[in-house]
């Protein structure tokens, strides 16, 4: 093993561990924050009994969930059923590897980081469908079916939205795109025309990819009981639950990096800015979640293929035109 590989491995191991722990901790606090936030939206006060202002609520939640009996349905496909939750957790965390949390804090600075993120994000559908299929439950199967339709469809606008910063910065590396924004301008600010709509498109596709309201169709609890997680209990359910939050959190971080200049910002170290931007986007996901009702599966497809996909194509062309013809737009 040559020294360069060795150092990259050590770097990846150290920062990967730090990033994973940081993401998981912020998920726990994020859940507390969401419960408080939702409480305020609904004129209640949210958790109060566990610790000061209910801060230990996520701990109580996790301890409760881990204590529960682990039930595997008799007729379930045991191997797939048991494999799905850890896979979901792994795939959702894996995308965090190439996100630059500051100029230095990045587990693996891949040249094709954007492609990696899209690939790993797309893989999430595999454990989801494994869960839906192996549970041997009709509600879970319907949920898995919807998950595949949704994930396959929303991959397309997600890729197109991601293409806009890639074209504008001329780089497939996430840190490269952030660097370019730090030296020039944030893509959500300028060029305003492909930039801001591309962020909104990315945001919508991200909501759909991470199964958030108004696109939480695979686990629509009022229709499909709990969708793919109907038969899961205890620790396995916790993993799915966590994977969903991690997916949203990492998606928010990617959005912050691709469109809002990542760690770029005045006065404070880069890490602060990155965390702040990520959390703001994360909170907006909650805001949407606790305000809207959900779409129907076919309306979701309609929105994706008839509106968002053509819009995404148009934005990519605009970005290319900007780079080619706008004075000073060329890299």
């Amino acid at each position: 093993m040559n020294p360069a590989t060795q150092s990259a491995l050590i770097h990846g191991a150290v920062y990967g561990t730090i990033v994973c722990l940081a993401v998981l901790t912020s998920i726990a606090m994020g859940i507390w924050f969401e419960r408080k936030f939702a409480g305020r939206m609904q004129s209640r006060i949210g958790p109060t009994y566990t610790g000061p202002v209910g801060l230990l609520q996520p701990v109580a939640d996790v301890v409760k969930l881990l204590q529960k009996e682990d039930i595997i349905p008799r007729d379930a496909d045991h191997a797939l059923f048991n494999l799905a939750p850890p896979l979901a957790a792994i795939f959702s965390l894996a995308a965090a590897a190439v996100v630059p949390f500051s100029a230095k804090v990045i587990s693996a600075d891949l040249d094709v980081g954007v492609v990696y993120i899209l690939g790993v994000g797309g893989l999430m559908v595999v454990p989801t469908f494994m869960a839906g299929w192996s549970s041997n439950n009709k509600f879970a199967l319907l949920g898995g079916m919807r998950a595949i339709a949704q994930s396959v469809s929303y991959g397309v606008p997600l890729v197109l939205a991601t293409m806009v910063p890639v074209v504008l910065a001329g780089s497939l590396s996430v840190s490269g795109i952030v660097d370019w924004q730090a030296t020039h301008h944030w893509f959500a600010v300028w060029p305003i025309l492909p930039g801001l709509p591309a962020f909104l498109l990315f945001y919508l596709a991200m909501l759909a990819e991470s199964n958030r309201i108004p696109f939480d169709i695979p686990e629509a609890e009022s229709e499909l009981v709990a969708g793919i997680t109907t038969e899961y209990t205890g620790a396995k359910f916790t993993l799915f639950y966590m994977a969903e939050y991690v997916h949203t959190m990492v998606g928010s971080a990617v959005a912050a990096a691709l469109f809002f200049g990542g760690w770029d910002g005045p006065f404070a170290p880069g890490l602060h800015w990155m965390v702040l931007k990520t959390l703001l986007i994360f909170v907006s996901v909650y805001w949407v979640r606790w305000s809207l009702v959900r779409f129907r599966s076919d309306q979701l497809m309609d929105l994706c293929w008839k509106r968002l996909t053509p819009l995404g194509l148009g934005l990519v062309f605009l970005a290319a035109a900007f780079v080619q013809y706008w004075p000073g737009g060329a890299r």
């Binding site: 939206m41 108004p214 009022s222 499909l224 809207l292 959900r294 076919d298």
Partner: protein, 404 residues
Amino acid sequence: MNQVITVTATRQSAVRGSVDPHLSIRHYDPDADLMLLHFGPQHPSTHGVFRMDLHLDGEIIVKATPYVGYLHRAVEKLCEKLSFVQQTPIVDKNDYVAPMTNEQALNMAFEKLLGVEVPRRARWMRTLFAELQRIASHLLALGTFCIDLGGALGGGSTAFIHTFRERELILDLFEEVTGARFHYNTHTIGGQRHDLPAGFAAKVNAALDIIEARIPEYEAMSLGNAIFQARTKGVGVLDGQLALELGITGPILRACGIDHDLRRDAPYSAYDELVPKVIVRQGGDTYARMRVRFDETAESIALCRKAIDGMPEGPINGYKPIRQPTMAKSAGGQVYVGIETPRGELGTFVIGGGDTPTSPYRLKIRPPSLHALSAIPYIMPGATVSDAVAILGSLDPIMGEVDR
């Protein structure tokens, strides 16, 4: 009429147009791979313990069969055994979202059977209570409908908790009068058990002001929302003629464009003096049903204001209030009384006489929700599982009165 229907995306509307609820699945497209989904009774969106067997082609329903009876409590049989004056608290539990109107219906039937007059003040109080109950019930219907659309962990529950907050104001008013928040037992044969407390009019007006001020907020949260409209418009279209044939009444019938409201068409209590404006909407879809309920809430607020402002003075019972079982004896005869509850026509059919003159020989309750559920085999096919939840929610069934 056994037709072979191939359900594809383009032919959904054809299925909606000519639904045969008795369609045998054997006559369905034999190549289709159908799935039988037991929807309920333990399902978060079945509004209690209701069960549907859905035959699904993909996610599209080709046949829906409703099953009721999971909450059967033999209320009608029980009423035959109890004396007339004992039955009010029993029927409170039938439509547990609108107990006031249950009591009113039962006692009005007994009054008609026994030939008892009700003083004017008691009639006005009944009208006031019924309209307050209508507001509370419609608020609950809207909130639970939003949960059906948006999930218990999302925007739906936000709307739900907001409507519950205002419903609470009305329960507080009822508590002020009767001492109970839910099962009031305040109607008696020939009058009311509890008179209005001092200063009640001001409290009613204050509560109504709060609710009225928040109506635009609900509008923005639910009916005015683009996703809400996309989920409800054109979904579960019920034909007016079919609704009449199935005996459907109340907001569901008025959403089909049929102008029918017992409060105006066959006035009872104080509705001859307080004539309500009947809300009618066209379309017969899920959106129209929720729209009728929503607009009726505003109309009921206006009626409540008139009722509390014009509340006449006087006794709330006859010369001798009927409290003992021996004071209410039936010589025989049979009566039917129908009143307009928040869900439609709640009918009570009583036959007097029999072995014990102090109790009915037979009592039959005609719950509006049961008739509403009978539309399911006609309006579900062609919809998706998501629509099924929306359609069921818009029918607003209360299983307590369906199964009795």
